[in-house]
């Protein structure tokens, strides 16, 4: 984990004092609502349907156990005893009091956490693959780069009032779990033919009302130039991005309107001014950041364990969980474990204070005190000894955290929706629950196989519905909640945007519709084809025909 030094601590303290004063002036009537708005947003504070919502950053998804315990403390003392893990590796509290937010920020600072720039028209939390640093399929650990970007973007004086929000993702693994291609800037870590590390730079990806897959503007950016190149991209966007229409203000629209070649030329011309300047990264700085992510004291272990083998044969629940939620690790004798926060009947991504403390204890006991938050709204223990899997599974099972659905249909990604969010057109959580109830059977889910289902309560697409294999979008039709379904989205290295199936459905029809879609897939699939592969082969028509078939 990155640890603050005196500079980081002091600046964070100054940030809190600044926001405390801003809040005081707002409450005293000295600061108009419109002027307070971007200030509170850039400190993570929304005003929502029922209460304010505070979004806390979990930088690139890395969380320590003292931090998780602090989140539990905040949930209990300042909120209603739970928190929501979002699709951007952040944590949201749905019921804080506006006047207490500076105190919450001070509590967070005690464990080196913050809510800086988690909202507003600025550079947001940088995200990455949750298996960074432990995946056996890794090109380079993305975390030092994420931290370098986090620091560069934090309180960047030039970029606090961009046309719109700005999200950066970094991916250093072969199988992209960071949805890199649907970010304003996506960075794939690559090595050139001499083995030097650099970045393939994508720009202009994004979801929301106009989903776009990012375009490559540079195949290889040597790592030393990362920050000056980012400065150049964001400067062009800040100057030329549209400000006349909120819905056309993201960088994706600028890239589309200019054309990617013109945009690239502008960035490269701007970059010539900044290249090789003081922002050029040094090996000393990279080494410093990298040192925070050095390996924990792994033991030298064999990669087979008789107890685990034995349990796999005779314990069905363990075997299911092992099959779905336990992943290969770069170190022999270790495994990555996903805690799927998708137990049927609980809102996707929600965790109570008690569960957070329980998970923190497990992470201390089994995973060197560290966790990851995933954009699929799950938690991950990164470094579990193979031999500890049976004990870990038993502990998780008792707390209903051993749901063996990771990567299956019921591992639904969902925004909080109309139950909480003032932007939403429709509810999301009850839809997720209805689908989960319909499919709540391991054998059934396993037979369907790996697939994603994403739900967003509105066009803002916080549930990333465009890139779900099945994407469900809440829409408003004359004051009533309806749901539009799209198929074929994907957010991995082969990112694709879902295609709309047809007219939208009422809430109660959704489980039947999903069941019909699955029925078509099961009938048409060849061999071990995954849903997305079958869809890509047969297209949307067979699904459309069956789902909208007239019943005589």
């Amino acid at each position: 984990m990155y640890r603050y030094d005196s500079h980081d601590r002091q600046m964070q303290q100054e940030r809190i004092e600044q926001f405390r004063d801003q809040t005081r002036r707002f409450l005293a009537g000295e600061l108009a609502s419109a002027q307070f708005l971007p200030l509170r947003l850039q400190n993570g504070l929304y005003v929502q349907r029922l209460a304010p919502m505070l979004r806390v950053a979990v930088p690139y998804g890395c969380l320590s156990t003292p931090q998780l315990r602090k989140l539990a403390f905040i949930a209990r003392h300042f909120d209603k005893g739970y928190a929501h893990f979002s699709t951007r590796q952040n944590v949201q509290f749905n019921w804080p009091k506006l006047e207490e937010v500076p105190d919450i920020l001070a509590q967070l600072a005690e464990v080196e956490m913050h809510a800086n720039q988690t909202s507003g028209n600025c550079i947001r939390n940088t995200t990455t693959d949750q298996f960074a640093g432990v995946s056996p399929y890794e090109i380079e650990d993305s975390r030092p780069w994420c931290e370098i970007i986090r620091q560069w973007s934090t309180f960047h004086p030039e970029f606090a009032h961009l046309p719109r929000k700005f999200k950066i993702a970094v991916c250093g693994t072969e199988h992209d779990q960071a949805a890199t291609q649907v970010h304003d800037i996506g960075l794939y870590i690559v090595k050139n033919f001499t083995g030097d590390v650099g970045f393939q730079v994508l720009v202009g990806g994004g979801l929301g009302r106009t989903p776009v897959i990012g375009s490559v503007i540079r195949e290889f950016l040597p790592w030393q130039h990362l920050l000056s190149y980012l400065d150049a991209i964001v400067r062009i966007y800040n100057q030329e991005g549209r400000r006349d229409n909120k819905y056309k203000a993201r960088i994706k629209i600028l890239v589309k309107e200019l054309g990617v070649d013109v945009f690239r030329n502008k960035v490269e011309a701007e970059w010539l001014h900044c290249k090789d300047g003081p922002a050029t990264l040094t090996l000393a700085e990279f080494d410093r950041c990298k040192s925070f992510f050095s390996e924990p004291p792994y033991e030298s272990l064999t990669d087979v364990n008789a107890d685990v083998e034995n349990l796999l044969m005779r314990d069905v629940l363990f075997s299911q969980w092992h099959d779905r939620n336990v992943h290969a690790h770069k170190k022999s004798g270790y495994r990555i474990v996903t805690l799927c926060l998708k137990a049927t009947g609980s809102a996707p991504g929600d965790l109570s204070a008690e569960q957070m403390e329980f998970v923190a204890d497990l992470a201390d006991k089994y995973s060197f005190g560290e966790l990851r938050v995933t954009h699929e709204q799950n938690l991950v223990l990164t470094d579990v000894r193979l031999a500890d899997l049976p004990a870990l599974h038993k502990a998780l099972k008792d707390e209903h955290l051993a749901t063996p659905y990771r990567g299956l249909l019921n591992d639904i990604i969902s925004c909080p929706g109309g139950d909480f969010c003032s932007l939403a057109n429709a509810k999301s959580i009850p839809i997720a629950e209805a689908i989960q109830r319909r499919f709540d059977d391991y054998e059934k889910l396993k037979n369907i196989g790996e697939m994603t289902l994403n739900i967003s309560g509105c066009m803002n697409a916080c549930g990333h519905h465009h890139v779900g294999n099945i994407g469900i979008l809440g829409v408003d039709k004359k004051g009533e909640e309806f749901y539009q379904i799209a198929l074929g989205g994907s957010s991995d290295r082969q990112t694709s945007l879902g295609k709309i199936l047809g007219p939208s459905f009422a809430q109660e029809e959704i489980p039947d519709v999903v069941e019909k879609i699955i029925a078509v897939y099961l009938e048409k699939r060849l061999g071990t084809e995954r849903f997305i592969e079958t869809f890509n082969r047969i297209g949307i028509e067979p699904f459309k025909e069956y789902v909208y078939a007239k019943v005589d």
Binding site: M11, Q35, I148, Q151, S153, P157, E158, H161
Partner: protein
């Protein structure tokens, strides 16, 4: 009247008179006036800030007028409009039509960093307390404060942070090169 301050929060005398861009006012509380050449030349004031468009069209006449001439850029006007003339311009004013329009931060950086502009860089328009620190970091040296901002608040604003992570105009060396 807006008050002009420097980066220490000290109130300055303001000899400059600003002519609006035709059809666009700097701030809602500015009286309407014309940005035409004849008005500029007929103006009794000795220090004029003209919009970059007028500057581009009538540079020679303006310079020959015997007045001190400065130039202001609106947030949709690019630094390139005056880049070649910066040696002759003692003051560049950059407009914030609304405080959330952040384009002028980048214009300031471009003027200072790319074009090496050394003269006065003034923030005009919707200049509020909570943006002063970032403006200073981007190279602004004077600030036409909105009426609603208390002077003592503005003074404090310049000390909101003791450092910045990124390379800025004010402190080009990024924090990572200064960490002990």
């Amino acid at each position: 009247m807006p008050r002009l301050i420097d980066t220490a929060g000290v109130e300055l005398k303001n000899p400059w008179h600003l002519l609006p861009r035709d059809g666009a006012l700097v701030a809602p509380d500015q009286p309407p006036a014309s940005g035409k050449l004849e008005d500029a030349l007929a103006s009794p004031t000795s220090h004029l800030i003209v919009n970059a468009t007028l500057w581009q069209q009538h540079k020679q006449e303006l310079l020959a007028s015997g007045k001190q001439i400065a130039v202001w850029l609106d947030s949709d006007q690019h630094a390139d409009m005056i880049a070649a003339d910066l040696a002759r311009i003692p003051l560049v004013a950059l407009n914030f039509p609304g405080f959330m329009d952040g384009r002028s931060y980048s214009t300031a950086v471009v003027l200072r960093k790319h074009h090496g502009y050394k003269g006065e860089l003034r923030a005009i328009g919707d200049v509020l307390r909570d943006q002063l620190f970032y403006m200073k970091r981007c190279g602004f040296t004077t600030f036409d404060l909105r009426d609603t901002v208390k002077l003592e608040d503005a003074r404090r604003a310049f000390h909101d942070y003791s450092a910045s992570y990124a390379s800025t105009v004010e402190e080009p060396t990024p924090l990572f090169r200064r960490r002990g």
